[in-house]
Amino acid sequence: MARFTRGFAGRGRANRDPRLPPGQYDTGHSWPVLTAEVTPRLDIATWTFRIEGLVERPTTWTWDEMHAFPPSTYSGDIHCVTTWSKLGVNFTGVSLDTLLDAVGVQTNATHVLAFSHTAYTTNLPLADVTGGKAWVAWDFDGRPLEPQHGGPARLLVPHLYFWKSAKFVAGLRVLDHDEPGFWEQNGYHDRGDPWLEQRYQGD
């Protein structure tokens, strides 16, 4: 359907930032909040992160144990399926490579299901959370991540739409198959590459 909308010229694309994927706009200093559940108040004294499933050593780490790993920072952009992007942000946490190396992923693993301290889940190919592409993040621009943005810690997979970066992340289940998560069961794409506009099932 290649037709255009009567009277619509669009704006701003002469100066459109090349960091913006198709269909996205720059939200600037704001950071919209989109969460489908009640924002939980999680205590770092009892907070844990776990990796289970197809791994050699299923492991649960405390807040302090997670912080004992070498820190890793992502500096770049994030993209929400609701069409905003936030450019030039900095998250610090631990690389998932570090954690997955620590537990030893079995050779038949292909996907992970991330789960949160709420009932939230999201599915990801293993290849999208390894090779320096994913983190458990707890600092945003040098400050502790706020609860409305998923604090005390969230998954960070910035090359995919941001619903994949599960807020309040509690762990990963390593699987040998793809298992749709919360939004993926509700009409959203299983992978969610913003540069391919993989917003909904069928894209």
Binding site: F4, R13, T83
Partner: protein
Amino acid sequence: MTAHAPSAKLWQNARVVAIRPETARAKTFRFALTERSAHLAGQHYVVRLTAPDGYTAARSYSIASAPDESPEFELTVERLDGGEVSTFLHDDVTVGDELEIRGPIGGWFVWNGDSPALLVGGGSGVVPLMAMLRLARRTDMSGLVRLVVSVRTPDDLYYADEIVGPETRLIYTRATPPAFSRPPARLARDDIPQPFAPGVRAYVCGSSGFADAASDVLVAAGMPTERIRVERFGPTG
């Protein structure tokens, strides 16, 4: 929910058949499809605008009309200053225009019309809840639904002529209509209708700040957090 999860359909044309103001900043657009709009109460459609050179801008808007057998449906759109899509819809679209839409989308913030529901909406967040209220009324299931709507002033209330009824409790935070018994104040525990019906599910929709505040009030009133579904309206103009 999974059984009802739609696979979002491809883009299709929808013709604008009516436009009416809800408030100074919100309009309802009635669209006609070539076939039945197979939406559930609480879902949204994506509206996409395309410029002659192929540039597009798309935003999601909640469906305000109840599911029925009709090929028509309604979206209520708040005009956000600087919002590329909402300003175009408000300022440029007229009856007879065809717009591209996609959907209906969403399988979480959905009420199927057959279980008790407590609906709590702030400002423009009332839109998907209105679809639920309309569904309840259309199917004579109003007894299942309680709706609490919080607005700043009477001028900010959507669907003012229709929304009032035995299901509905109105909350004004800044200014009330004349002779309104409740003084202007933010949503509080006493505003939540109780007791809760067995198996009730709460649907909270509004700005993120409203959603958090309303969720806190519901939890304080005894609603289990896992019974609360939240839809946050961001400034995605």
